[in-house]
C-alpha cells in the first residue's frame, strides 16, 4: 500500500486519494498513512529504504511515474534548445559580429541562417517600446513582413545570384541590434534633435552591416553597393521612425 506508492516514485505525493491504477485498498491505506509518507522514511528504519525518486520514475515500472516526470525523461531525446534549432553560442557569435561594424565579415554569416536571433531582437525592440507605453508589436511585425518581402524581391531582381527568403530575413534581423540599442537609449533621452542624430547613426550602422553581407552574397559589383544599401537603409529607417517618435 504505502510501499506501492513509494515504488511508483510518488513519495512527494501526499494527497489522500490514490493515483490512477492503484487499487482501492491502497487508497484506504494511504488515507491512514496521511502525512507520514515520503518525509518520514528516514525516521522509520523498519521500512525498506527507497530513495525519494522525486520526479524521475525510473526506478519503477509504473506508467504514471513517467507521465508525471515531464519531458526530460528519456535519455535518447536531445535537449530542448537543440531540438528547436536554437544555438545560443551561434547567436552570440553573430551578435558580436554585428556589434563591431568595422570588422570584415566572413561569408559564413549568411551561410548558416537562423531565425532565433532576429526573433529575439524583434521581441526586445517591442519590449523597449513597451517601456515607453507604446504597444507596437503589430507594427513591428507588419514592417518586418512587408519590408523583408520587398527587400527579398528587390535584391533578387538586382543581383546575379539567388538569395532565399530565410537567409534574407536572418541577415536583416541580426542587423536590427543597433535599433534595439537605440530604442533603449531613447527611453532616457527626450530632445528630438539628439534622438534624430542617434537614430541616424544607428541606421547607418545597421545598414553597413547588412548591405556588406548582401553585396558579397548576391554577386553585385562592389561599386554598386549604394543600390543595395538604400532599400536596406530605408527598412531600418522605418524601424527607427517608430522608435524615436
Amino acid at each position: 500500500m504505502g510501499d506501492n506508492r513509494r515504488d511508483a516514485g510518488l513519495d512527494f505525493y501526499q494527497a489522500p486519494y490514490a493515483p490512477y491504477g492503484v487499487g482501492a485498498a491502497a487508497s484506504a491505506g494511504a488515507a491512514a498513512a496521511g502525512t507520514t509518507s515520503a518525509w518520514s522514511t528516514a525516521s522509520d528504519p523498519g521500512r525498506q529504504h527507497i530513495p525519494a525518486a522525486g520526479w524521475h520514475g525510473r526506478t519503477s515500472s509504473f506508467e504514471l511515474g513517467r507521465a508525471f516526470s515531464g519531458a526530460s525523461v528519456a535519455e535518447d531525446e536531445p535537449p530542448l534548445l537543440e531540438e528547436l534549432g536554437i544555438h545560443p553560442e551561434a547567436i552570440w557569435r553573430k551578435t558580436r559580429q554585428v556589434l563591431n561594424p568595422f570588422r570584415r565579415f566572413e561569408k559564413s554569416f549568411a551561410d548558416e541562417p537562423d531565425m532565433a536571433g532576429p526573433l529575439l531582437f524583434a521581441f526586445l525592440l517591442g519590449l523597449a517600446l513597451l517601456f515607453r507605453g507604446k504597444v507596437h508589436f503589430g507594427v513591428i511585425y507588419g514592417i518586418a513582413i512587408i519590408g523583408c518581402l520587398s527587400i527579398y524581391l528587390v535584391l533578387n531582381l538586382m543581383g546575379s545570384r539567388e538569395l532565399d527568403l530565410y537567409r534574407t530575413v536572418s541577415v536583416l534581423g541580426y542587423g536590427l541590434l543597433p535599433i534595439v540599442l537605440l530604442a533603449f537609449l531613447v527611453t532616457l533621452v527626450p530632445p528630438l534633435a539628439f534622438r534624430i542624430a542617434v537614430a541616424g547613426t544607428a541606421v547607418a550602422w545597421c545598414t553597413s552591416t547588412a548591405s556588406r553581407i548582401f553585396t558579397a552574397v548576391l554577386g553585385i559589383p562592389s561599386h554598386n553597393w549604394p543600390l543595395v544599401a538604400y532599400p536596406v537603409g530605408l527598412w531600418y529607417a522605418s524601424f527607427a521612425l517608430i522608435t524615436i517618435f
Binding site: 520587398s150 531582381l157 543600390l227 538604400y230 530605408l234 521612425l241
Partner: protein, 256 residues
C-alpha cells in the same frame, strides 16, 4: 520562380527593370529634376541575332528583331528601382514630418502609402486610356507604372524641403507650394517628352526640332489629338502632386 542565374524574370517581374547602376540612378535623377537639359530622349535598341539570343520578354519587339536596352545601358529606359525606392522614401519622410509636428502614429505611414499606391493605379489607367485614344502603339503596363512612379522622387524632394523649411517661422507653406509646383511642371515636361517619343515610334521622324517634321501633310487630326493627349498627361501632374503633397502645404484637421 525560376532558379537559374540567367532567368529574365523573377516572380513575374522582368529583371531588366532592376538592372541599374549608380551612374544611371544619378543621371536619371538629374533628368527628373531638369528635363529641359536633356537632349536625346529616344530609347536605344539593339538588333537581335535570332540564332544567339533567347526568347525576349518584350514580345512586341521580338517580331521587329530588335530589343530594347535595359537601364544600365540606356539612360532613357524606364526602371522600377527608382520609383519603388522613392515611394518608400516619400512615405518615411511624411512620417518624419508628422513626427516633428508631434502627431506621429505608425498608421499614418500606412495611410499615405495606400494613398500613393491608389494614385499610381488610377494614373496608370488614365494614361493608358488616353494613349489608347491617341491611337498610340502599345505601351507596356510596367513601363507606365514606372513612369507614374517617378513622381515620388519629386514628392520626396518637396517633403524634404518642407521639413527643412519648418525651421522658418512662417514660410513653410510657400516653400512647399513653390517646390511642388516646380516639380510637377518638371514631371509634366518629362512625361511629355518621353511619351512623345513613344507615340512617334512608328514614324521615321527623330527629333522634333528639325523643321521637316512640321510639313503640312503630317499635320492632321491624329497628330493634333496626340498633342492634346500629351498635354493632358502633362497637366494632370499638377493636381496629382498637389494632392499627394497636401500634407506639406495645407493646414488640415487633427484627424489627418
Amino acid at each position: 520562380m525560376t532558379s537559374s542565374v540567367h532567368s529574365l524574370t523573377f516572380c513575374g517581374i522582368p529583371k531588366a527593370y532592376f538592372q541599374v547602376d549608380v551612374s544611371y540612378v544619378l543621371r536619371k535623377l538629374w533628368i527628373l529634376f531638369f528635363p529641359f537639359r536633356h537632349r536625346s530622349w529616344s530609347r536605344k535598341r539593339k538588333l537581335l541575332d535570332p540564332f544567339a539570343n533567347p526568347i525576349d520578354a518584350d514580345s512586341v519587339n521580338q517580331a521587329a528583331g530588335q530589343r530594347l536596352l535595359p537601364p544600365s545601358e540606356d539612360l532613357n529606359a524606364p526602371d522600377l528601382y527608382i520609383p519603388v525606392m522613392s515611394f518608400v522614401t516619400y512615405v518615411l519622410l511624411i512620417g518624419l514630418l508628422r513626427g516633428t509636428e508631434g502627431k506621429f502614429t505608425p498608421q499614418v505611414m500606412g495611410e499615405w502609402a495606400s494613398m500613393g499606391l491608389i494614385t499610381v493605379v488610377l494614373e496608370v489607367l488614365l494614361i493608358r486610356v488616353s494613349l489608347f485614344l491617341a491611337q498610340s502603339p502599345r505601351v507596356v503596363w510596367v513601363d507606365l507604372v514606372a513612369y507614374s512612379g517617378y513622381k515620388f522622387v519629386g514628392l520626396a524632394f518637396s517633403t524634404t524641403c518642407a521639413l527643412l523649411a519648418s525651421f522658418l517661422p512662417s514660410g513653410r507653406i510657400y516653400v512647399s507650394l513653390a517646390v511642388l509646383l516646380y516639380v510637377s511642371l518638371m514631371m509634366g515636361l518629362f512625361l511629355l517628352r518621353s511619351f512623345r517619343r513613344l507615340l512617334r515610334s512608328d514614324t521615321q521622324s527623330g527629333d522634333v526640332s528639325m523643321p521637316s517634321s512640321f510639313d503640312t501633310h503630317l499635320w492632321d487630326a491624329q497628330h493634333a489629338r496626340r498633342n492634346y493627349v500629351l498635354l493632358f498627361i502633362a497637366l494632370l501632374q499638377i493636381p496629382i502632386y498637389l494632392l499627394l503633397g497636401v500634407r506639406t502645404w495645407a493646414r488640415l484637421g487633427p484627424s489627418n
